[in-house]
């Protein structure tokens, strides 16, 4: 018998399995579960984009592309980024097409971090940063964001966690799971700290197209002096509803793009070819699709936020992504208790906030990437659940 424990790399062993796995195991065994837990768009990829993928297959475009990605695609990405966020990148040397934003994050981490470097990660946030930092021999440092600050990263908090070893700052805005965004003046204050301590930034802007209340996304790279110390990570998953195509990209100064390309070329070769052809179509003719989906999310967002507040679960107004992050502290339950009870009593699945870092404790993540009908049914059940909780409590006293 092989002792696999002794074979497996110690870093991956030390990475904690996601604590909420067991929670979803319960969910998968129950019937009539209605979920608001999933973090991907519910729309299909727009038809004309799918068709472009199909056409590329029919033409037989089934080979590897250049390591960096199709030239035309990189041109379109750079043109798009300049048009929307007013930062210029050179398609030949500053853009790399990756397997989702996920690979882009991994590449950026592995190419920037040396052993012992500290990586500042605002929390609550997306679950991949921490493990990827660890695998890259870095040390993740959680920087708490709070509801009082609208879950924005503030310079004061950030500065508190800076040490001589601080190297990289992750900027995950618009944020999964809070829905927080950073406005220009917020970013400018962060930029001062970045300069003061000579940090590098991985700006995960994958939800850039999904902001509301007319607050257009501001790219961190567009802030003065930041382009040269930023890797922008973005992709097609959220904006064009293309999660399964696995396509993303980085935009970064040439020396960084070069090393990320080197790693990408050995680990991946090239991003999926069919997806790259579809993405060209998305960038060229997809603005209207984005708008339609954004408008739809916006309606759901208003509905969800209002209903939570009306139920007595204080819910800060998210202005980005497709999540609401209501506070459940008033119930006296922990996030996991709340989610497990809700699941068992009403068959509604939402994600405990602490899955996104300790500072998410006391909150739950509710995704509104579901139809209105689905959302209203789930909200109705949550409302019943809260009523019953209250009655239980009164009974006890």
């Amino acid at each position: 018998m092989i002792d696999y424990e002794s074979v497996i790399n110690h870093k991956i062993k030390n990475i904690k399995p996601s604590g909420i796995r067991k929670f979803f195991d319960i969910a998968s065994e129950m019937e009539n579960v209605i979920s608001l837990s999933i973090g991907e768009p519910d729309f299909n990829t727009p038809w004309h984009v799918r068709e472009a993928g199909i056409t590329s297959l029919q033409k037989g475009s089934t080979k590897y592309t250049s390591n960096r990605g199709l030239t035309v695609l990189r041109k379109e990405i750079c043109a798009y980024f300049e048009r929307k966020y007013h930062v210029e990148y050179h398609p030949e040397s500053e853009c790399l097409v990756t397997v989702g934003g996920s690979e882009a994050i991994d590449l950026a981490m592995r190419c920037l971090i040396s052993e012992g470097d500290e990586v500042l990660i605002p929390e609550p946030s997306f679950v991949c940063y921490n493990p990827l930092v660890q695998m890259a021999d870095g040390v993740p440092v959680a920087v708490e964001t709070t509801e009082e600050d609208n879950f924005k990263l503030t310079p004061e908090r950030l500065e508190k966690f800076i040490t001589p070893k601080s190297k990289v700052l992750v900027l995950p805005f618009p944020n999964n799971p809070t829905g927080a965004i950073m406005e220009k003046h917020d970013l400018e204050k962060i930029a001062e700290i970045v300069l003061k301590y000579n940090l590098f930034v991985i700006s995960d802007e994958i939800y850039a197209e999904l902001t509301y209340n007319n607050k257009h996304h501001i790219s961190f790279a567009s802030i003065e002096n930041m382009r040269e110390r930023t890797v922008v990570v973005s992709g097609f998953s959220k904006s064009y509803s293309m999660t399964g195509w696995r396509l993303g990209y980085t935009l970064a100064p040439k020396p960084l793009t070069d090393v990320m390309t080197k790693l990408h070329q050995y680990a991946i070769m090239s991003a999926p070819t069919t997806a790259q052809y579809a993405a060209i179509e998305a960038l060229r003719h997809g603005d209207n699709d984005i708008k339609k989906m954004r408008d739809e999310y916006d309606m759901r967002r208003r509905l969800v936020v209002k209903r939570f507040n009306a139920m007595g679960l204080n819910c800060f107004e998210p202005e980005g992504a497709f999540y609401a992050f209501p506070c459940i502290k008033s119930t006296g339950l922990s996030s996991e208790e709340f989610c497990t009870k809700l699941l068992k009593a009403k068959g509604v699945a939402v994600v405990p906030g602490n899955a996104f870092g300790d500072s998410g404790e006391g909150f739950v993540r509710v995704s509104y990437s579901f139809s209105i009908k689905h959302i209203t049914e789930a909200l109705k059940r949550i409302e019943e659940f809260l009523k019953e909780l209250n009655e239980e409590k009164q009974h006890e006293t």
């Binding site: 998968s28 837990s37 991907e40 759901r300 208003r302 994600v351 899955a355 209105i372 209203t376």
Partner: protein, 160 residues
């Protein structure tokens, strides 16, 4: 199309307050608009979308093409009105193309519908020819997919 109408078309059970929240308008504005639509006959009713394939004894349904000789003064209206007046007839459209009226008919059985076409529709004054298509299965109705393929929503990745 107006946002209120498109929301109601998707789901007529939304309350004034839900619609108001979603489109960021006051509730009384939404209520007034909807009442106006009802008054003006823009909104003609609210009904359930039923998947007949799942209902026992729900009868049969057919689409019938009618070729019609238009009348000098009234065109197709007169025949259309006569067709409309049968209880069996659910919808009547005037069409451009190789026939004139498209009629959706429901009946207790296929024979029932066939008899109705033979005895009532084809004998109408002005009807030149009929062509009956029986409906076998509904995949989609009123924008709603009724054909439940195995649902792979559960496979959407969970935490991320």
């Amino acid at each position: 199309m107006d946002k209120i109408l498109s929301l109601l078309r998707e789901n007529s059970q939304l309350s004034y307050s839900e619609i108001a929240t979603m489109i960021n308008e006051p509730e009384d504005y939404v209520e007034k608009q909807i009442k106006q639509y009802e008054k003006d006959g823009v909104i003609r009713g609210y009904r359930a979308v039923i998947d007949y394939d799942k209902v026992k004894n729900s009868g049969a349904r057919a689409f019938i093409e009618l070729k019609v000789q238009p009348k000098k003064d009234t065109g197709f209206d007169e025949v259309a009105k006569q067709v409309m007046s049968f209880d069996e007839v659910e919808t009547v459209y005037l069409m451009a193309g190789s026939f004139d009226l498209l009629v959706r008919v429901k009946g207790e059985s296929v024979t029932d519908i066939a008899m109705f076409v033979a005895k009532r529709l084809s004998t109408l004054d002005g009807v030149l020819a009929t062509n009956t298509h029986f409906q076998l299965r509904t995949y989609k109705d009123s924008g709603m997919v009724l054909f439940d393929e195995e649902n792979d929503e559960d496979q959407r990745s969970i935490i991320l």
